[in-house]
């Protein structure tokens, strides 16, 4: 069973529907016990960083999230969830969770695509990834796969944590993390089959991790 963190930050049901379609059991919850008891946690989010941090504080979820990550429970941040795992966001200049090193930065104005056409913000639509480090999150997903992005800020983290990069006006980190702790800037739940495959890969990891925890 996966738990989707419910802190009033938008489209949680779309993640749940995608999991349902993949036959992955999930629960949308704000209860720390349920989050800690799940085999893996998905941390989505749409909206602004400051509001999301306030909502997490109001729901009393900051400490449980830290506990989940510290305990090494499988964790997947999506979109805003990926951004606020970092230490700080330029969106409203707020301190964020600090569960990963780095800062979330605003795309500069007047960016251009490789062909010279304007690259307005938000970066919205289908784009590719360039894997800079192999990750089991992308098992069975080809290099030509595209994912659906909607964001105005981008992740700036340690190079050693970067898993994939994407080009839009500039090159930025679109996936980071390590085994069991991942964050993706795009929306896997809206990225067709490759996105669903990524969720399945995450769930497969969660099951294995749960088995080895129970076995030890």
């Amino acid at each position: 069973m996966l738990a989707i963190v419910d802190y009033g930050a938008g489209n949680l049901t779309s993640v749940r529907r995608a999991l349902e379609h993949c036959g992955i059991p999930s629960v949308v919850t704000a209860e720390p016990e349920k989050l800690l008891g799940a085999s893996g946690v998905i941390f989505p989010g749409v909206g602004a960083a400051g509001q999301a941090m306030q909502a997490l504080a109001a729901a009393g979820l900051e400490a449980p999230l830290r506990e989940i990550v510290a305990a090494g429970r499988p964790f997947l941040g999506i979109c805003l969830g990926c951004q606020i795992l970092l230490e700080r966001s330029e969106e409203g200049d707020v301190a964020t969770l600090g569960l990963a090193p780095g800062v979330c930065r605003r795309f500069p104005p007047d960016m251009r695509e490789e062909d010279g056409s304007p690259a307005p913000v938000p970066h919205m639509g289908w784009n590719r990834l360039e894997l800079v480090r192999p990750s089991r999150l992308f098992a069975g997903i080809g290099p030509e796969a595209e994912f659906y992005f909607v964001h105005s800020y981008y992740v700036d983290t340690e190079p050693g944590l970067e898993i994939a990069r994407t080009r839009y006006g500039r090159e930025f980190c679109s996936v980071y993390g390590r085994d069991g702790f991942w964050a993706v800037q795009f929306h896997p739940e809206k990225s067709g089959r490759p996105g669903l495959r990524l969720l399945e890969n995450f769930y497969a990891y969660c099951r294995e991790a749960a088995c080895s925890r129970n076995g030890s």
Partner: protein, 259 residues
């Protein structure tokens, strides 16, 4: 680099497609949920549903369609038709759509664009514009006028000025439907599409007039659109989404080819 999108438009009345959709198997499908699923599987980058239900009391049927579609397709989809308030927007977004498209309601009440963007983010607000070519005047210097009610009613708004105003109010995207080109199958109105794409920095969707895949290529190159909307060209089984996209790729345009 972003891929250029191919968006499929489905018209829904009382919970059914207004015209049947033919797929390669040749069967005629009137169910919007099943058609959406098929287009999702055939590579549509996005799907738009227009509700042309006449009566408000049947609105629930449409929202139910939206909710059922959301369980079947895992790409963005938007909903338009009869959306006239923030409450209407919230209802379709809660039912599972990513975006809501407003058209005549925005002309009637431009503040609706700002209120929608504030409540749900600009990325969720698409403004649809029906545009008619007219002789240029002082009031309509571009020679393109915004019309409403399926093109029957002129508004006196210059399309370029209106496009800039929509952007300033917080619209995330503009869908430009040429009344002149609509239904002709002779291609999109490229001059109009390009004029608007050059006037704003938000994505522009070309709509109306597609008759063959090369028209889509022209829309995203000459017309500078970010996406092309298709309906009958794919509904009648004449071309597949893949054929449209392969034409884009052959023209050197980045587009999503695996799904």
């Amino acid at each position: 680099m972003l891929s250029k999108r191919v968006i499929v438009c489905l018209d829904v009345r009382d919970g059914r497609l207004t015209k049947g959709v033919r797929f390669s198997g040749n069967e005629d499908i009137g169910d919007p949920v099943e058609s959406a699923r098929r287009y999702y599987e055939e590579g549509a980058d996005e799907i738009v549903f227009y509700d042309i239900t006449a009566s408000a009391e049947r609105r629930g049927i449409f929202l139910d369609v939206v909710a059922r579609v959301a369980r079947e397709i895992f790409i963005p989809f938007s909903v338009g038709g009869g959306v006239a308030s923030v409450a209407d927007m919230r209802a379709v977004l809660l039912a599972g759509a990513e975006k809501v498209s407003i058209n005549s309601a925005a002309v009637r009440e431009p503040a609706l664009i700002a209120r929608g963007a504030e409540a749900f983010g600009s990325q969720a607000v698409v403004v649809g514009m029906d545009v008619l070519a007219v002789p240029p005047t002082e009031a309509i210097p571009s020679g393109y006028e915004i019309v409403v009610h399926g093109g029957r009613k002129r508004t006196g708004l210059d399309a370029l000025a209106w496009a800039r105003r929509c952007e300033a109010l917080g619209a995330g995207e503009l869908c430009i439907n040429s009344i002149d080109a609509d239904g002709t199958r002779d291609g999109y109105e490229l001059k109009l599409t390009r004029a608007i794409a050059d006037a704003v920095s938000i994505p522009v969707i070309a709509s109306g007039g597609a008759g063959e895949p090369r028209h889509l290529l022209a829309a995203v190159t000459e017309g500078r659109a970010s996406a092309a909307l298709v309906a009958s060209i794919v509904h009648f089984g004449q071309y597949s989404i893949r054929a449209c996209k392969e034409c884009l790729a052959a023209g050197g345009v980045r587009t999503r080819l695996t799904w």
